[in-house]
């Protein structure tokens, strides 16, 4: 059994995952069970960061992946974001980069700017 703290929500449930059967106990919701399974087989994370933006009230625009991506891809995605530039106006939820690093996830704007 592997002990994990669920990161799906701030509640932070203490999960126990069977490494062979991927059975999860200690979760309070279905998302927690899914997290427990993934964390053993293919850990996923949402990447949140910022990109350069021109013409907005701030020089940086908060962005995130619209779904969790493999943990190992985080730094690769950061490199893509570092060389990306957005141009105002942008709406919250606008897709800025599609299928970033072939993860199937898009980079979306976190706010209007």
């Amino acid at each position: 059994m592997k002990e994990l703290v669920c990161i799906v929500c701030p509640r932070g449930c203490h999960l126990q995952v069977d490494e062979n059967t991927l059975e999860v106990i200690g979760n309070s919701c279905e998302k927690g069970a899914e997290y427990g399974k993934n964390e053993i087989s293919n850990p996923l994370r949402t990447v949140t960061a910022s990109v350069a933006v021109e013409g907005g009230i701030h020089p940086r625009l908060a962005v995130r992946t619209n779904r969790a991506v493999p943990k190992g891809k985080m730094f690769e995605i950061m490199n893509v974001l570092h060389s990306f530039k957005a141009y105002s106006p942008i709406k919250r939820g606008d897709v800025l980069i599609e299928n970033v690093c072939n993860t199937g996830a898009d980079i979306i704007a976190s706010r209007d700017i």
């Binding site: 910022s50 350069a52 940086r60 950061m78 974001l81 570092h82 060389s83």
Partner: protein, 478 residues
């Protein structure tokens, strides 16, 4: 050729510069740091002592009493925060009582006015939060508190307004004597001068070495402090000293001129000259000693701990006068406590000394105090309204703890002696001096400085040289 070159932009150098600016002579001040008021001046108790401490017939006694009078007058003229709070030396036992009687007698001899020996009852009327163990006190109503760096900066600004030149980042590295004059090398420049005033504080003996006149040693002694939030004002109303013990002079608990409470200092000798660190042991000692005065100090409300260095010397008195080893080289050295109290009187006295040395000093016909700066939060509602209409920048509050506006920060940047650092702005405008210590306004003041000088954010400093704040843009963006 300068007539007089002042080495050191602390409160003594500042006072000398200001008094000399009244005369028709060519004068400059050299400071090794990137701003004035960077040494002992910015890190001390901020007390204008009444004058009962120094032994009678010393320079310290005379200049302290005279300085105390001058400081009150000057602070009004220069709009420097100053409060005549009075001071107490509290006695906790019969030995202490004997000591305060001795201080009273000494004060009488030094010409201190208005002193009183208080019994327990009148003491607690004045200071209800003191420890129950207090039995009486020496009360000196003429003692005061002053904002020491504002005092220094205001005197420098006055000197600059009246023609004294200021050179920052100008550490004196050599002094040559040529034909009875001096060639001083500092910050990549050479200054020829007839007279030198050595007001180099902790480093005064090193500067004296440069002309072969090191006949004294500075023995820096570190003192550590707590500075409490304005929420604690009223804890004490006067400067409260303890009687000295074997362990040291005893820590004080005092209001500051800005409305905070200051607690400290301890006394540590033998430390290095550039060491102004605080230590857990030092601060713990201060807290333990201060607890004897009052148990009501709330250290959760501490907003800053800091250390300062006293410029003690191997002489018992101040070292002020022309060096025996070098003509026209005038020391203003070993200015320990009551140095801040004496500073103004030192400036006045040094001007006389130079005249005695033979420099012809004619008083200027025109000499002015600089125009007072706006302090937005101290204005009435009507004045605030009027000022915002005149200049909308006074409507933009940048420092929310002390309610300092962008207008005031721009005024500070427009000073005669221009600050280039966040702490330089802090010392002039007061931003970042409150409970959040710049956590909120820091990035904003940072940006205002970068825009004002048109320099990248990476080049703006917090305080001393090397104290950069940000190291680059995210993702290496150009």
């Amino acid at each position: 050729m300068y007539d007089v070159l002042i080495i050191g932009g602390g409160v003594c150098g500042a006072a000398v510069a200001m008094y000399l600016s009244k005369y028709d002579i060519k004068c400059a001040l050299l400071e090794k740091e990137n701003d004035i008021a960077m040494g002992t001046t910015k890190a001390n108790s901020g007390i204008v002592h009444a004058g009962y401490d120094p032994e009678p017939d010393t320079l310290m006694a005379r200049l302290n009493v005279r300085g105390s009078e001058l400081t009150e007058e000057l602070c009004k003229k220069l709009s420097v925060p100053y409060k005549k709070t009075g001071s107490l030396v509290v006695a906790f036992d019969s030995k202490d009582e004997a000591h305060i009687r001795k201080l009273y007698d000494r004060g009488m001899e030094n010409g201190v006015r208005g002193m009183e020996l208080l019994d327990k009852e009148s003491l607690f009327e004045l200071e209800p939060n003191l420890s129950e163990k207090a039995v009486g006190a020496l009360y000196a109503p003429s003692a005061a508190v002053v904002n020491p760096w504002r005092f220094c900066i205001a005197m420098c600004e006055t000197a600059a307004e009246n023609g004294v030149e200021f050179y920052l980042d100008s550490e004196v590295t050599s002094i040559e004597k040529i034909n009875g004059c001096f060639a001083v090398t500092a910050g990549g420049r050479t200054f020829d001068t007839k007279y030198i005033i050595n007001a180099a504080g902790i480093y005064a003996d090193d500067v004296a070495s440069l002309v072969g006149a090191r006949d004294f040693e500075i023995k820096a002694s570190k003192g550590q402090y707590f500075l409490l939030d304005k929420t604690q004002s009223g804890l004490v109303n006067t400067v409260v000293f303890q009687c000295p013990t074997e362990k040291g002079k005893g820590v004080l608990v005092s209001p500051t001129a800005d409305g905070n409470i200051i607690v400290g200092p301890n006394a540590e000798s033998g430390n290095e000259r550039d060491d102004v660190s605080t230590t857990r042991e030092g601060l713990d000692f201060v807290a333990a000693e201060a607890a004897k005065t009052t148990s009501k100090i709330n250290y959760r409300e501490n907003i800053r701990s800091f250390s300062g260095l006293r410029a003690n010397s191997d002489k018992s008195d101040f070292i002020i006068g022309e060096s025996d080893l070098c003509r026209h080289f005038i020391n203003v050295a070993g200015i320990k406590s009551p140095g801040l109290s004496s500073a103004a009187a030192i400036g006045e006295y040094v001007a006389e000394l130079i005249a005695d040395c033979g420099l012809i000093m004619t008083e200027k016909e025109q000499w002015n105090y600089p125009a007072p700066k706006v302090r937005f939060n101290e204005l009435s509602n009507v004045e605030k309204e009027r000022l915002c209409k005149e200049n909308p920048k006074y409507g933009n509050v940048v420092c929310r703890c002390n309610l300092i506006t962008e207008g005031e920060i721009l005024d500070a940047l427009d000073s005669k002696i221009k600050p280039r650092t966040l702490d330089g702005i802090k010392r002039r405008a007061g931003s970042g001096m409150g409970r959040c210590q710049g956590g909120f306004c820091g990035p904003r003041v940072h940006e205002i400085i970068a825009n004002y000088y048109n320099i990248p954010m990476e080049e703006v400093l917090l305080d001393k040289n090397g104290s950069y704040i940000v190291c680059g843009k995210v993702g290496g963006e150009e």
